[in-house]
């Protein structure tokens, strides 16, 4: 464990702040490309995408309506 070292005196512990500690190797997506998904997950994300686009358009219309801009245009 990089965070806490035991000094030569066995009864002493050195506690190091994360910002001062040695570099740690992290999980990286470099070179992995996109996440691997089953067909079901991919399909569900497609449905989610359609839902989000639809809701965003509905919200846009609702906001324009509430702000009175649509009435002015008519």
């Amino acid at each position: 464990m990089a965070t806490i070292g035991v000094s030569p005196d066995i009864n002493e512990f050195r506690v190091i702040h994360p910002l001062d500690d040695v570099a740690e190797q992290k999980c990286s997506a470099e070179g992995l490309g996109k996440i691997q998904m089953t067909r079901a997950v991919r399909g569900s994300l497609g449905v989610l995408r359609a839902y989000l686009i639809l809701m965003t358009l509905m919200l846009g219309y609702h906001v324009l309506d509430l702000s009175g801009l649509l009435h002015k245009a008519r």
Binding site: M1, A2, T3, I4, G5, S7, N11, E12, F13, R14, V15, I16, H17, P18, L19, D20, D21, V22, A23, E24, Q25, K26, C27, S28, A29, E30, G31, L32, K34, I35, Q36, M37, V41, L45, L48, R49, L52, M55, T56, M58, L59, H62, V63, L66, S67
Partner: protein, 435 residues
Amino acid sequence: MRVMEQEDAVTTATAGVVVRSAWQRRILTFLMVFGPGLIVMEADNDAGAVSTYMQAGGQYGLHLLWLLVVLLPICYFIQEMVARLGIATGKGHAAMIYERFGKWWGRFSLLDLLVVNFLTLVTEFAAISLALSALGVSPYISVPVSAVGLTLMVVTGSYLRWERIVIALCLMDLTWFVLASMVHPHWATVAHNSIVPTMPAGGITSSLVFLVIAIVGTTIAPWQLFFQQSCVAEKRLRFADLKWARLDTLIGATFTVCVAGAVMLVGNYGFEHKVVFQDPAQLALALGPIAGSFVRNGVLLLMVNAAVLGTTAISLASAWAYGEVRGWEHSLHKKLWEAPGFYATYVACVGAAAAIVLIPHVPLQLVIISVQVFAGLILPSAIIFLQLLLNDRELLGDRWVNRRWNNYINWTIIVVLFALSLLLAAQVILPNLFQ
């Protein structure tokens, strides 16, 4: 699982603090890790949340206290995943979505986040303006001064300095407990209603459903996912810190829910005295003659504190996310000139939101509605990506992925949140749907 090296960390043989016992070591390590969990949770008790909890107490007394208790584990489970992902990858949430789900989802998540965050910031400054106006300070002074103060907090070039200031602001919310005890609630009823759901007089109405959804929506917000992961990466938490990050998150969730309960108790005082109010500032002014000036001024100042906490966390969530995706330097460790894009994003968010509030006759109601619906839109999708990332063995390996029981709990939470977000969106866009 592939690995990479984190940059910049420097250790010398003399770094750190020497302690003489194992329990001192544990406490000190926890204190060093402590911060992101408390901040993300308490900053979520922002002006909008205070308003919602107070409204819940004001309209339904103590009947909705149980909901906060239910939300505690939900908050914890979601944010624990965020902390775990942040520690495992050392990267923010926006960057991970971009890298693993491609540009479309990356851009959509980022755009949605930036829009909903910005609209939320407008409501935070509106709350600052409202609360300080009630204390006799002109909005043309309070809003710009707050914006400048919020900017100065982050441009010091030190994450730790920012973190300490924000933790101090979080702890100021302890005052809510003082206020709650000053309004003398019936503690036996408080304890009972915290555990046993009870039906308010009038039964299930559209307004009750809306308030329940609003409480859930305000307690679990999309920006929290992005904020905590970036914050954990910014603090460079190590693998061994995970248990302390979990404890930090649990303490944050518990503290936040307790503060939310205290706010509801203050609102309940208005309910008991039949005070009609639209926002916490109105309630505070009405409570002044009944409960005293300490309660009145306390509520107003804590409303400002909530808005300040929310603003700094939400603006940082936006700046971190945007910086990650653009590949800019995006760290509070950097000086202003070393990360100009990151700081410019933060200042632009704060400055523009403050400026909008000062424009006369701004349709704030429209902003509030848009915040609710946008948050409802982004939350389920953001959590779904979180869940998929936490099952990404190729990226995380066996050590960091969700266990089976994690997945059962999280998918249940996602289904409930998705249903609630659909209800909220439908109810806001079509107000007469359930009448």
